[in-house]
């Protein structure tokens, strides 16, 4: 008797991907519940809101309060994505479970995407925290003058964050120094992403680099949505955020697959 294993159909592949995605999200939610470290960014965000707001208020610049309130929320988004994409790979490697995860039938990129999607959703709480703390501690109420633009910017940013995290995960699969990279990829990105200071304040020669960082488009658009004046270039900003996020996701996905194929061949995925 000959056993013929047929290649999976498109539907089967899609279902396997969906399964992996759901399993990844479930796993991340469990992980978030039991490891306080994963929620670190959400714990420090209220204090950072106070740090930034205090700077603006002490300088007598209440008009810049929206900048101060927005920044910690964006920090949370980036930090949690960075932490998840790095820790997902690194902790599995430390556990010795990375090999098992890679050879499991569920596609590895789907599991990672599921985990990243779950953490990105949770990190949205950063916005709520910042707004609440500003109102409760300093009595500063930051009004959202263009709610639809704001919501659009937040959703597009969440999507782009998840996409970029995928690219980061690809980097972390290859390196043994994921945690060192995690540290390095914070503040340089906060500057290039104009998280608190718009990139127009940076030297001109840096501008091309800032436009490759989706956060620079996100922070611009979100700040504009908090301003009473009309918002310019909504479509361009949204398209750029989504485009850069998609680019990160696609490149990340391809790189993860390639890295996995390579480490499978060389047998260097785990502790080797």
């Amino acid at each position: 008797m000959t056993l013929i294993i047929a290649p999976p159909t498109r539907l089967e592949s899609a279902l396997a991907y969906l399964n992996g995605l759901l399993a990844g999200s479930e796993r991340e939610v469990r992980e978030l519940r039991r490891s306080p470290d994963r929620l670190m960014a959400l714990v420090t965000a209220p204090l950072l809101t106070l740090v930034f707001l205090a700077i603006m208020l002490q300088a007598g610049r209440e008009d810049l309060a929206p900048f101060a309130v927005l920044a910690p929320a964006l920090l949370v988004l980036w930090q949690m994505a960075l932490q998840t994409s790095g820790d997902t790979v690194e902790s599995e490697r430390e556990n010795g479970s990375l090999e098992a995860l890679v050879v499991a039938p569920a596609p590895f990129p789907a599991v990672i995407t599921g985990r990243i999607a779950a953490v990105t959703t949770v990190s949205m709480l950063g916005f709520v925290e910042s707004w609440l703390v500003a109102a409760l501690v300093f009595g500063v109420r930051v009004e959202i003058y263009h709610p639809w633009v704001f919501v659009g910017a937040v959703l597009a940013t969440a999507y782009a964050t998840a996409g970029s995290a995928m690219a980061l995960a690809a980097l972390f699969v290859r390196t043994r120094a994921a945690r060192a990279f995690q540290n390095t990829l914070t503040y340089p990105f906060y500057i290039l992403g104009g998280i608190i200071v718009p990139v127009s304040y940076l030297p001109d020669w840096l501008e091309p680099a800032t436009r490759l960082v989706f956060l620079s488009w996100s922070s611009d658009l979100m700040r504009s949505s908090l301003d009473a004046g009309p918002v310019q270039g909504v479509a361009l900003h949204l398209v750029m955020i989504v485009l850069l996020g998609t680019l990160g996701g696609v490149v990340g996905g391809v790189l993860v697959r390639r890295a996995l194929a390579e480490v499978r061949q060389t047998g260097t995925i785990g502790h080797a």
């Binding site: 930034f52 120094a177 540290n183 503040y187 200071v197």
Partner: protein, 273 residues
Amino acid sequence: MVGTRLPRGTTARVVLASSRNAWADLAATFTPLTWTLGWLGRIVAQVIFYALIGSLLGSPDRMRYLYIGAAVVATAMETLLVVSTSTRERYSGTLPLLVASPSRLWPVFLGRSVQWLPSGVATATVALFAIGPAFGVRFTLSSGFAAFGVLVLVAITTYGYGLALAALVLRFMRLRNWATNLSYTVMMLICGVTVPLSFWPVWLQGAAQVFPLTHTLHVIRLLEGGTGDSLTILTSLGLAVLTSLGWYGVAAFLLERLATAGRRRGSIEFAES
């Protein structure tokens, strides 16, 4: 085996032996290249991030204030990594061996994380003296040397606080990163790093006094501005040393209690209390 002439059984010998571990840890964590490009680059970016807020405010003075604060707090932040490296002893399963050894526990932990002191001083030194002038931060030769000395004191005094925190967190391991990050952010908030102490209510100004950083940072600002008289500077340095000694005392007490209670209850393994 410790190559030293210090007599066996002395506290100094234990601290020295433990510090060998610290240097080995640093060498395992960073190469000169990864320290410079990765770690130093990240810290400098952090300092610039805060200084740029000064440019947003349109005030060179605010930029200078924020730059100095963020540069000096980097030393404190790095010194607080004592919490992470101390708690690693418990994760690695070496804490029971340390408790079982004839030495007391506090000298071991005192030496265990000293690698962060020179590292923290070096990052702030580069930020303050090499890159600082681009942000309006200027020291004369003498005030620069004095400020460097105070940076060393920032590291040593904050290490006491960090050690006490580590001793506390060794009982609540899951909170170790929260403790470090919250401490560091509270320092940013109330110790005169980003806004003067006078911005805060009196009770919060009082709370800031327990952090040695409040006093040492104040001295560095006086040295940079060329405005401090000797008495003010010496008083602030004295307060930094005093509060720090208090923290070192708390750390030693908590570490010894951890060892005693752990021996009695047999809870020192990987358990949390």
